[in-house]
Symmetry: C2
């Protein structure tokens, strides 16, 4: 009369499939407190539900948008406290956007430099490449 079949709920692999999140990463997010500890079966298996799916999607989406773990922690805080306002969210998001724009312009600078250098390179079988010269200089 033991209930060895999960009455309802998703196991880790199912949550993984639903969200596309690596199965090990789920446990990792739990360990660092981004995901709440789910209830367990009598044998200790994790049992997730739709709230976990939503929360994990939130986390994954935020990561995709380049938020760091701590930034996400902050966003989740706002969500959990349920007293978020547009103003608060903007406050967190705008500096992040600024960071991303800074990264983009960094990379574009690098791109221009690299492209220019490669263009100077004959691509022939001769030694003394202008790319290396640019690196050494």
């Amino acid at each position: 009369m033991t209930e060895h079949v999960p009455v309802k709920g998703l196991q880790r692999s199912q949550l993984s499939n639903r969200t596309g999140c690596n199965i090990e990463t789920i446990r990792y997010y739990e360990n660092i407190g981004l995901m709440p500890e789910p209830p367990r079966t009598s044998k200790g298996y994790r049992l997730y539900d739709e709230t976990h799916v939503r929360r994990l999607r939130f986390v994954l989406r935020s990561r995709e948008l380049g938020f760091g773990i701590n930034e996400i922690r902050g966003l989740l805080d706002l969500v959990d406290r349920k007293c978020q306002t547009c103003a608060e969210i903007q406050e967190r998001t705008k500096p992040h956007l600024a960071e991303i724009r800074a990264k983009i312009s960094d990379l574009r600078r690098i791109e221009r430099l690299l492209a220019r250098t490669i263009a100077q390179c004959s691509g022939e079988d001769v030694p003394e490449c202008p790319i290396l010269d640019a690196l050494v200089a």
Copy 2:
């Protein structure tokens, strides 16, 4: 009659100052084989010279351009073998440029998304922010 004054050469802090490289990073680069082991004084102090300055500058410049440690190892290999050709260098550099361009377009996608979302946000003191909605959806 012991020579306790370094006859010639730079200590770690001086190499650090000349190149702007963090002093601990220098030892790190030595450990992983990007920098050669320098000669030592009788008491074990490292003694660098101008070749080390040049090599470290090469490494730092390459890092700035976004090359990973292993890519730099490859470039240094070419330099050391002294048989590099333009063609070889281009071969290593072009895929790297492609990577950087890919990163840029990723970031720009994120930037557009984030900027659009923030624009929808009233910035007022009301709850239910479209940014969070975008994240949850």
